[in-house]
């Protein structure tokens, strides 16, 4: 019975396919789901049973939003100064990156100059080069420039460094957005007597706004998530950003297992990332590939 045979074979293949999908993509994903489920469940419950089952709904883990909380790290800890520090760093990085890379992206996309090709190769090479290697030398440079251990000046130094590390790739992305704008539009304005600056400001800029938006979100998030630079360079505890603060609380887990507080704080800190990610997934996807993470 060849027909029946074929049907069973097709069924077998379909089953095999589903098994492959489950073994490769679903089962290994279970830890990820569990971890997120725990993060959320733990932050809203007094205690959890069996790892992820919440019991006793409570908001007291989130009390850090409206009162001071006591931790091993600091007796009366208020989270808002740390939020302000993180925002300062992230907004600063985003501003610098957008300003510099939109100018550079425009030049790379639209202008003829000697060494343009070399310049682009250089940017791609920088992009491939893992910047964390430079941490030690950057530490010495910050010291030399007098930006170390000086309050907000230090945070500003970190902001400049972080922006500098992000800028080559950001310029590359913005160049891509400029490349997609038809030349004719620009020509028409130039022929009508616009200066190049005016063309840039009134014609090109509005058209690349989505690109600029993507880059600013991305650089804001990378500033928001930055851990190593702040952890390594900031010695003044008042200037810690959220990730460093949370890291310190993690290392206190053994003496004071405040999982509830920690997860609530962690979720609070992750929230902007998740919001941006869910609203502009496609754009961020393109960009996240280029990150420095292994």
């Amino acid at each position: 019975m060849p027909a029946k045979n074929r049907r069973t074979r097709a069924l077998l293949r379909k089953t095999a396919k589903i098994i492959v999908i489950i073994v490769v993509a679903v089962i290994p994903a279970i830890p990820i789901w569990i971890m997120y489920a725990w993060l959320i469940a733990q932050s809203f419950s007094a205690r959890v049973i069996q790892g992820i089952l919440p019991s006793g709904f409570t908001l007291s883990n989130w009390r850090f939003l409206w009162t001071r909380v006591s931790t091993v790290y600091e007796a009366g800890l208020s989270i808002w100064p740390y939020v302000a520090n993180t925002l300062y760093l992230a907004l600063g990085v985003a501003g610098l990156v957008v300003l510099v890379s939109s100018m550079a992206g425009y030049a790379l996309s639209r202008m003829e100059f000697k060494g343009r090709m070399k310049m682009m190769e250089f940017i791609i090479a920088l992009h491939a080069f893992p910047s964390v290697i430079l941490l030690i030398a950057l530490f010495i440079l910050l010291n030399k420039m007098g930006l170390y251990g000086r309050g907000y000046v230090t945070l500003t130094g970190i902001m400049i460094v972080k922006a500098g590390l992000e800028i080559p790739m950001a310029s590359w992305i913005i160049k891509g957005f400029f490349d997609n704008i038809p030349w004719d539009l620009e020509w028409a304005a130039l022929v009508d007597g616009c200066s190049r600056w005016k063309v840039w400001r009134y014609i090109i800029l509005p058209l690349v706004l989505p690109g600029i938006g993507a880059v600013s979100i991305f650089s804001f998030l990378s500033g928001w998530s930055e851990f190593l630079l702040v952890y390594t360079y900031v010695s003044n505890e008042k200037l810690y950003t959220l990730p460093v603060l949370i890291y310190y609380l993690i290392s206190d887990l053994e003496s004071m297992p405040q999982w509830g507080l920690l997860t609530a704080m962690g979720l609070f800190y992750t929230l902007p990332v998740l919001i941006f990610f869910s609203t502009s997934q496609k754009l961020l996807l393109r960009i996240y590939v280029g990150g420095v993470k292994g």
């Binding site: 293949r13 396919k17 492959v20 993509a25 679903v26 994903a29 830890p31 789901w33 569990i34 971890m35 997120y36 992820i52 510099v100 550079a104 030049a107 202008m111 100059f113 791609i124 090479a125 491939a128 080069f129 893992p130 290697i133 430079l134 941490l135 030690i136 030398a137 950057l138 530490f139 010495i140 440079l141 030399k144 400049i160 922006a163 500098g164 800028i167 080559p168 190049r196 998530s225 851990f227 190593l228 390594t232 460093v244 949370i246 890291y247 993690i250 290392s251 206190d252 999982w259 997860t263 962690g266 800190y269 992750t270 990332v273 998740l274 961020l284 996240y288 990150g291 993470k293 292994g294």
Partner: protein
């Protein structure tokens, strides 16, 4: 009066901020790393050096490299072994497992919604801020509060195989190190491969299907051969970034409180990789010269690999790694 700027200068005006930033954040530190690698800069002469870069208290020396390359540093052999395990293990996930993953999600799975849910799931580790990701792992493998051991014994792994601590004991700690980084790295391969699979002309696959090929045959005989370049790209790219990455290892195994305790339990747990060793030499032991020499070796490897990539891939492929050439 309008300021007239020559055509030749204008592009450079636009590029100057970029160049300045690159100089501060990349070129300067790069040169400084090389320079420091040949000095004995440490906590002893650090302040003098900050005041004056050419102070006589800092000596030029090649002893850093003699210690590293001559394996005279007692830790270096161990560090090299750990680094090889780390990079090759994680690379297997990032380059090969992610290929299976992409074929499963982007080709085998025809249901759009399920495919999207899986894709988002696998992206989460990359998107989540590192500290939170590390926190979730610290909890997950905790023998008292976490789920790792519970899950493993639920699927029949004998209790005696499960460690008291996934963080402290080898080989579990090394498995954990590879998993933590692998979950992040898998999505890199997934994004590149998925884009490449989507860019394969449907005719090619349909023709094979009409001729009676199964989906498995299509995957093996059409998709995998066509993904040769993206695979090479992912492998190359990830090798370099893995060699330099230690952030998650520092977060999970590091000492917490202060950079002066940067090593934490990494050495005892067998997860002290090259780049973390360099970090610890600088910020825990404050031997900046030696640490720079360790970094410099990574810089040299990195530059050599980048030159190799340009030779192998050419500029175009470096820019658009996900295009498939049919």
């Amino acid at each position: 009066m309008r300021l007239r700027v020559g055509r030749g200068i204008l592009p450079w005006l636009f590029l100057t901020p970029l160049l300045v930033m690159i100089l501060i954040a990349w070129v300067g530190p790069l040169i400084l790393t090389v320079y420091l690698g040949f000095t004995d800069l440490s906590y002893r002469n650090f302040l003098a050096f900050i005041e004056n870069f050419f102070t006589s208290k800092v000596h030029y020396t090649i002893s850093n490299f003699q210690r590293i390359l001559g394996l005279k540093d007692p830790k270096i052999a161990e560090v090299i072994r750990t680094t090889v395990i780390y990079v090759s293990g994680t690379l297997a996930i990032n380059a090969f497992f992610s290929l299976l993953l992409s074929i499963a999600i982007a080709y085998f799975l025809r249901n759009e919604i399920a495919s999207m849910i899986l894709r988002v799931t696998w992206l989460l580790p990359r998107v989540t801020p590192g500290v939170i990701y590390a926190l979730m792992w610290v909890w997950f493998v905790d023998p008292r509060y976490g789920m790792m051991n519970t899950l493993l014994s639920a699927v029949g792994v004998p209790k005696s195989w499960l460690p008291q601590s996934w963080i402290l004991y080898t080989p579990y700690s090394r498995i954990l190190m590879i998993m933590i980084n692998g979950y992040v790295g898998a999505s890199f391969g997934m994004i590149i491969y998925t884009a490449a699979i989507k860019s394969i002309p449907p005719d090619l696959i349909n023709a094979a299907l009409v001729d009676g090929a199964s989906d498995f045959q299509v995957a093996r005989r059409i998709i995998v051969p066509l993904l040769k370049w993206p695979m090479l790209f992912v492998t190359a790219w990830q090798t370099l970034s893995l060699l330099a990455s230690y952030e998650y290892i520092l977060m999970v195994w590091g000492g917490g409180r202060a950079t002066s305790d940067a090593y934490g339990v990494a050495s005892e747990s067998g997860v002290l990789v090259w780049s973390l060793y360099s970090y610890g030499k600088a910020f825990a032991e404050k031997l900046y010269g030696y640490a720079s020499a360790l970094s410099m070796i990574l810089v040299v490897i990195g530059l050599a690999l980048i030159i190799l990539y340009f030779k192998v891939f050419g500029f175009r492929r470096m820019m658009e790694p996900s295009k498939v050439e049919v």
